[in-house]
Structures are given as C-alpha cells and as structure tokens.
C-alpha cells in the first residue's frame, strides 16, 4: 500500500461521519473475531516452516498432514508471542490452560479436528482502543492451529497444506462496536497493537490477519440484543466495512418490513458486494469439543508474564498522545507517524538528534512523513534499511535550520543522498546547492543587480514595494537559487537606502 493511500485511509477514518438514516432508527451492534497468524519460525505442532508463498504442499510433514500415528508437540514460541499479544491488549493471562479438539470435516483440515482452546483459553478480558479513545472489550484470546487452503477450480478442489498447523491466536471481541466505521477503526488499532508487539505481520493479503464479524440491530435503548448474523470470508478491512454496511442495510430493511432476522452464517461475495446465506442455525455445527489428550495442560506463571512485559514497546495510542503533547504535532501527523512502530522510532530518533524543540519536531515530522516514507515505498525497503538513517536526516534538517540549504535544495540533496549514501554536506557541495549566506559574497551580486535594474530602482523609490521582489528575483537568478533569501532582502534594502541618500 502506498503511503498516500494509507494516509488517505487514516484521514477518511477520522473524518468518517455517519449520516445514514438507519442510525436514527436502529443501533448497530457488532462484534469481531480476529485471527492473527503468529510469526514463529515453525508451525504450532511440528517443525515445518511457517512461511507464506511456497509452492503447494512443500512445507509439510506427516504431522501437519494428519498421517496415522502422529502426535502434536506445542511450540513454546507460539505461546510466548500469544502472551505478548495478550499483554499488549491488557488481557488477563490465565494460570491454567489446555488445548482441545474442535471437530469438523473439510479437506484442508487434515486430522478432521483443529487443535484449539475451548473452555480454558490462555487470555481473558482486555480491550482494543479506538482512535476516539473508546475501548472495545475483549472476551478472550486463544491459541490454535490454522487450516490449509482449499482452492476451488473447474469442478475440483485443490488442497494445499502449507498453512495447516501455522499458529494462530483468535481474538474474540465483545459486541461493543456500534458502526462499520468503528469496526474498521478497531481492526486498524488491533493490527497496530499486534505489529508493535512484534507477534505478527498482520498482512491481510497474505492472510496473516483474518476476520469474522457478528452483527445485529436493535431499537435504541433496548436492553436485549437483536438476532445476530455471522459473516465469514472477510479478507480485507475494506471488505469488513462493505459487508457490515450491506448487512446493516439488509437487516434494517427486514426489520422495517416487520420480518424477523434469521440467526445464520453468511458469506461476503466480493463480486456483488453482498452477503449470502452459508448455513442456517439448524445446520449449525456441533464441534464436539473435548480436551486434547495428546497435549498435557499448561500453566502461565506470573514470573513468565513479568519477564515478557518489559519486551513490549510503548503502545501505539500512548505514543500518539505523546507525539501530540511533547512534539506538538497535530492529530493527523501523530497518527501517520505511529501507524508503524518503525516510523515512530525513526521520527523520534531523528527528532532527538536534531534538537528538543517542537519546531524541530515539526520540521522532522514533515520530512519523515513525506520524503522518508516515499523513499521507503519507492525502494520497497523498511525504514531501518534506508540509506538515510535518522541521524543523517537530522543533519540535513540542521542545514535547513542554519540556512545553509533551502527546502528545495534539501529535497534535491535528500534524493542525491538516497542514491549515493553521501553526507548532507557533501551532497550539498557536490550538487553546488550550498546556500550563499556570506554577505561579502552576496553584496557584489546584489550591487550588480541594482545597477542593471534602473527601472525597478526608480519604481522602488516611487514607493512600489513589488519592485523589490523583482530585484530579489534577479539575485536568485544570478545565484541559481542558492542565495539566502533573508540575507538578500537585508543587503538589498541597505544598498537601496544608501542609494536614496545619495
């Protein structure tokens, strides 16, 4: 995603206004269940690689392929990442946990059951903070294995088990979201928390973050929830919003007509942007959960939790608030700078290197949000791998501050540095862009321009202030834009006044 479209999305998010008349008639109640793949090296129960994009059925072994006689042995790192995720969402880690088997038949589920957690999940409670400050409560987080992929094509299905057994956490939210836009905000915040905690890439295109949504409507002020509908197959934030918007309209229309809402599971169809029935309540699955006898129960100790807690960075919303307060940045800028932890880190490092003031923060923020993010995008490199590190950016900003480079020149210098890796000073030199801030060097040039601008000088003495700009322009032309504009004005005024006195 380009920086621009990311920014646009954030702005749209903040400015989202609900002007839908449905909101006047009904309250929308939404709860999200989010699956996040954990970034372990290996799968949850076997030593196969946890990696996206390999040729089909190449990251598999008898264990994740469900061959007879295999046994699961859980990956400690998956639990560790799960705990970090839970801590970043303020969940209560549970002392006594176990795995359970959840049964259903599908070709991408090799054992005929998924190893998940039923009644003793590893984390309860906690919440996701929206940009408004509202916190959506969480019911639970549990650890489970992913299924493979079943691809449908020309009268057959193809089964790829590379993903089977990849560790997932399922984050079950409370039905406290009140609009599709809030749902979007929830997902953005959750994704940011997961990325900050370092537990997952949360790349929806790679399927490392997936979402099911429950939605119902009710009269304002009603204490009971309406009948809820579950929507599956939502593999982008955009689809979540579109599906919820569609479903909200559909349910409102039903209720307006006095028709009941059926408790069912629906699928979002991308082509029509509509949801359709997948299965009704009568067909609801009986998963036959029971404790996984192949894996002994496990405990999460306070010692373990306290050892992990310091590894978590400042939360994204805390950092955003701090950027607004300490750095004096606006809400939008703070949001963009905290979208990714590494952007925030980069900004903060460059700012600290430049100086402590809010002025300096703003100058740095502008550069990070424009040139730095653009460069990262163009090069396809993370900020940490850019040829221009935060210290170098600070040096460049200092040149601007000290009047040694104009903004325009600095942008050229930035590009040059990105290609050559030169220091700002050297780049400035090499490009011949160093600003002329030496009065001794500038005065003869200004003198020459005055001599060649008889008419302008006359106009100036007649009181036409614009004539001054023309002469300034002349100096800039002579110096190919390198003259320090403030200094030029100063010298020009002094020489002209000298002339008037004569």
């Amino acid at each position: 995603m380009s920086t621009d479209s990311k920014n646009e999305k954030v702005r749209g998010n903040i400015e989202a206004q609900d002007q839908d008349p449905i909101a006047e008639r009904y309250e929308t109640v939404i709860g999200l269940e989010v699956h996040v793949q954990l970034g372990t090296r290996t799968k949850l129960f076997c030593g196969c690689e946890n990696r996206f994009g390999a040729p089909p059925n190449t990251l598999t072994c008898p264990i994740c392929s469900g061959h007879p006689g295999v046994l699961p042995v859980p990956n400690r790192e998956a639990l560790r990442l799960g705990i970090l995720a839970a801590l970043s969402l303020d969940c209560d880690l549970q002392e006594h946990c176990k795995f359970d088997r959840k049964h259903y038949y599908y070709p991408d589920l090799p054992k005929g059951y998924q190893i998940s957690q039923f009644d003793l999940p590893f984390a309860l409670n906690g919440g996701v903070r929206l940009s408004s400050g509202k916190v959506i409560g969480l019911e639970r987080i549990h650890l489970e294995e992913d299924a493979g992929k079943n691809l449908h094509a020309d009268g057959h299905s193809h089964v790829d088990l590379n993903r089977a057994g990849v560790p997932l956490i399922e984050i079950v939210g409370m039905p406290e979201i009140r609009s599709p836009e809030e749902a979007h905000d929830y997902l953005e915040s959750l994704k940011r928390s997961m990325r900050y905690a370092g537990v997952s890439e949360c790349d929806m295109e790679k399927g490392s973050l997936r979402c099911d949504a429950n939605i119902s409507l009710r009269q304002h002020g009603a204490s009971e929830f309406g009948t809820k509908v579950e929507i599956k197959n939502l593999n982008s934030f955009k689809k979540v919003v579109a599906a919820l918007q569609y479903e909200r309209k559909r349910q409102a229309a039903c209720l307006d007509r006095g028709e009941p809402i059926h408790q069912e599971t629906r699928l979002f169809d991308d082509a029509s942007q509509q949801t359709r029935v997948m299965r009704t309540k009568e067909e609801a699955m009986d998963y036959r959960f029971f404790p996984e006898p192949d894996i002994p129960p496990f405990e999460i100790s306070t010692t373990e939790i306290e050892a992990l807690r310091p590894l978590l960075p400042e939360r994204h919303w805390e950092r955003r608030a701090r950027f607004m307060q300490e750095a004096g940045l606006g809400e939008y800028d703070s949001m963009v700078l905290t979208l990714e932890q590494e952007t925030a880190d980069y900004f903060e490092a460059a700012w600290k290197a430049l100086g402590p003031s809010q002025e300096e923060a703003k100058l740095t923020a502008n550069w990070v949000m424009t040139e730095v993010l653009r460069l990262s995008n163009e090069k396809g490199l993370p900020l940490s791998k850019l040829p221009i590190d935060p210290g170098t950016l600070a040096s460049l900003c200092r040149l601007i501050q000290e009047g040694k480079a104009s903004n325009q020149a600095a942008r050229k210098v930035f590009k040059h540095m990105a290609e050559t890796g030169d220091s700002p000073e050297k780049a400035l030199e090499e490009l011949g862009l160093a600003q002329i801030s030496d009065p001794a060097e500038l005065e003869p040039i200004v003198q020459k321009v005055i001599e060649n601008s008889k008419k302008a000088v006359k106009d100036y003495f007649k009181g036409k202030k614009k004539a001054l700009d023309a002469m300034k322009g002349g100096v800039m032309r002579e110096t190919r834009g390198r003259a320090n504009p403030g200094l030029v004005s100063e010298i020009l005024l002094r020489l002209l006044e000298n002339l008037r006195e004569k």
């Binding site: 059925n57 072994c61 042995v73 089964v159 006898p293």
Partner: protein, 105 residues
C-alpha cells in the same frame, strides 16, 4: 445421569460421515441403544465434587523449542508425501471433488 434419547441412526451416521447399508442401519440401530443403556450404569456412581481425568498422567507444560525439524530425521516431507500416498493429485496439490456438485462421478 439423564437417560439419553439416542438420535436417529441416520443422523448420527451423517455426523460421523459414515454411509451405512440397510443391514448395518438395522443392527446398529438396535445395538447402540442397548450398549448405551449398559453405560447408564455409571449413573449409580456418586461423582459429586470429583474431578474429571481426561489425561492418563499428571503432566504439564510440555513444549518444544521453535526450531525447524532436521531434514535428515527420516520423515517424508512435502511432495514426497503427496507422491507416496495421495489418492488423487494435480500440480502438487491433493485433488478432491468439489464441495457442491455431483454431475461427474
């Protein structure tokens, strides 16, 4: 324990993904309720306050480290698994009939 009403044998067989022939349906349909009736014997036991034992032994916290398996550990992997045992395959995938359908056998 409440006396349980066994659901129709057809429903149970469907849940278990088992096609039964008429003879099996009849035999299992009469045997299963009798076997369950015998299992009801457990209702004589007072288990108030007794913990359930889903595990054989009192073990806990058995994890492995996040290390890739040793490729030389003697297990078949990846496409070798598909090659050796897949009943139907195509382009490295396991091939199965469509979820819906039935036009082709």
């Amino acid at each position: 324990m409440d006396k349980a009403e066994l659901p129709p044998i057809e429903k149970l067989a469907r849940l278990a993904r088992l096609e039964l022939d008429p003879g099996e349906k009849e035999r299992l349909g009469t045997q299963l309720p009798r076997i369950l009736a015998y299992f009801e014997k457990l209702s004589e036991v007072d288990t108030e306050g007794v913990e359930a034992s889903p595990y054989a032994m009192a073990l806990k916290d058995r994890f492995r480290e996040d290390r890739p398996a040793d490729p030389g550990d003697g297990m078949l992997r990846g496409q070798d698994l598909v090659e050796q045992n897949a009943p139907a395959k195509e382009d490295g995938y396991y091939l199965v009939p469509p979820v819906m359908g039935g036009e082709e056998a």
